[in-house]
């Protein structure tokens, strides 16, 4: 694994790899996300309890799941960067951060829009929503810390520590919020019955989860490439790259 990954610690190799991968990720993303969403919206039967409002699940659940896993992926990248001193790992981490933050935002927003018809309020201090809100703060913290530094190499390391501190805390936060929520159980009904989901509802959900994953991967690659270009713009290989591009355009 390590041997396989090691060449990509070099920015140039990482750039060409992610440049090659981006269209694949993007293509698979479209192939999964479009039919998955259409299937979920148009063809699955309505939930007998929640009616058609349950269709929000097809965007809410993937976003919520992947917002957490993106954070963990960030922390892994940060760890790799700190342990092996890879600059590309920090760049990958910071490329993921805004994507993850957007996923968290989507999860929160769709959660609220789902909560309004179900619970009768846009915002309920439900354990999962609260955790998600804290996750958004975590993302904001990492991004804010990164942008506060002028020297981006330093910034990457600092934000990496932040991501690691956050990931150590995620279980604690999750647990504490659950505790807090059961302690302060309000008058409103704050529980979904966890429905054992029917297969025809499940397939589009799985498709959307996989599609969102590809979306995150594609965007991470794109943003990583931007990051590499910005940081390495004075390097000879970048100028050579640009030169090739121009020649190609001229030839066409």
């Amino acid at each position: 694994m390590f041997k396989w990954l090691h060449p990509y610690a070099k920015t140039q190799a990482a750039y060409s790899l992610s440049q090659r991968l981006t269209p694949w990720f993007a293509g698979i993303c479209v192939l999964l996300l479009v039919p998955g969403t259409l299937w979920g919206l148009l063809f699955t039967p309505a939930d007998y309890q929640q009616g058609d409002s349950f269709r929000i699940i097809y965007i809410h659940v993937p976003a919520a799941m992947l917002s957490m896993s993106t954070y963990v992926a960030m922390a892994v990248a940060a760890l790799v960067g700190i342990v092996w001193q890879w600059r590309t790992a920090f760049m990958a981490m910071i490329a993921m951060a805004p994507v993850g933050a957007v996923m968290t935002f989507i999860a929160l927003f769709t959660g609220a829009a789902w909560g309004k018809p179900m619970w009768g309020a846009w915002w309920v201090w439900d354990a999962r929503l609260t955790s998600e809100l804290i996750l958004l703060f975590l993302y904001c913290g990492v991004i804010a810390l990164y942008s506060a530094f002028d020297d981006k190499q330093q910034a990457g390391k600092a934000a990496g520590i932040m991501a690691l501190v956050g990931v150590v805390n995620i279980p604690v936060i999750h647990f504490s919020v659950q505790w807090w929520n059961t302690l302060h159980q309000g008058a409103t009904i704050t529980k979904f019955d966890k429905p054992s989901i029917a297969t025809e509802m499940l397939w589009p959900l799985l498709m959307n989860i996989a599609g969102m994953m590809m979306f995150i991967a594609a965007l991470t690659c794109m943003r990583l490439n931007n990051e590499i270009l910005r940081r390495e713009q004075h390097r000879p290989w970048v100028s050579a790259l640009l030169h090739d591009r121009r020649e190609n355009q001229n030839a066409v």
């Binding site: 020297d151 981006k152 190499q153 940081r231 004075h234």
Partner: protein
């Protein structure tokens, strides 16, 4: 004794430099403003890391044995303004495990022309006097390598002479010094120049 090869940061200051320093050598690092002298010194001191390449001490990577034999004095004096010269030096000596009996420190400060100012908070001293307190460290710690970034700023001629004499003694005793300074050094034949140029 040492072999450096580095390049640095988003703006490339210098690339693939190599520099070797051995006992009894004084290296005067020269270059216009912004050439990266301070950056290079900080990399050699181990404060910041080179983007590529590494700094070696006795052909090994930098570790605690290196820090035990190093005195680095940067632009910033490293003195806490609200503490006296004595307290500052005592704290520093504790950290660096150097001898720091009070008698020794009083004696040293007297030699540096700071009689009667030992107990005053450093913020009441003049810039030159503060520089003298900072330079007192060169007398305190038994080291083998000194890295000095503009040691002579704010010093008067007597002070400069004092420090130069001490540097020469140190080099004769087998020490090594790397320093930057915008004024020419008058000292010994062992002086070597190392020039950095400004790169766009």
């Amino acid at each position: 004794m040492q072999n450096v090869s580095c390049s640095k940061r988003d703006r490339i200051l210098f690339e693939n430099l190599s520099l070797q320093i051995s006992t009894g050598q004084l290296i005067h690092l020269r270059g216009p403003n912004g050439a990266g002298k301070t950056s290079l010194l900080r990399i050699i001191a181990g404060l910041s890391q080179a983007e590529q390449g590494q700094v070696l001490w006795n052909s090994r990577a930098l570790d605690t044995t290196y820090f035990k034999e190093l005195v680095y004095l940067g632009h910033k004096s490293g003195l806490t303004a609200s503490l006296s010269a004595l307290e500052n030096l005592q704290y520093w000596a504790h950290l660096h495990q150097a001898p720091c009996s009070e008698a020794l420190l009083y004696d040293l400060l007297t030699r540096l022309g700071l009689v009667g100012l030992e107990d005053l908070p450093v913020k009441f001293l003049s810039a030159g006097q503060q520089r003298r307190v900072a330079l007192a460290r060169l007398w305190l710690k038994p080291a083998r390598l000194w890295i000095l970034d503009e040691p002579f700023t704010a010093l008067d001629t007597a002070g400069i002479a004092l420090v130069e004499q001490h540097i020469n003694q140190f080099i004769d005793g087998g020490g090594a010094v790397i320093l930057t300074s915008h004024q020419p050094l008058t000292s010994s034949a062992k002086l070597q120049y190392f020039d950095l140029e400004y790169r766009l």
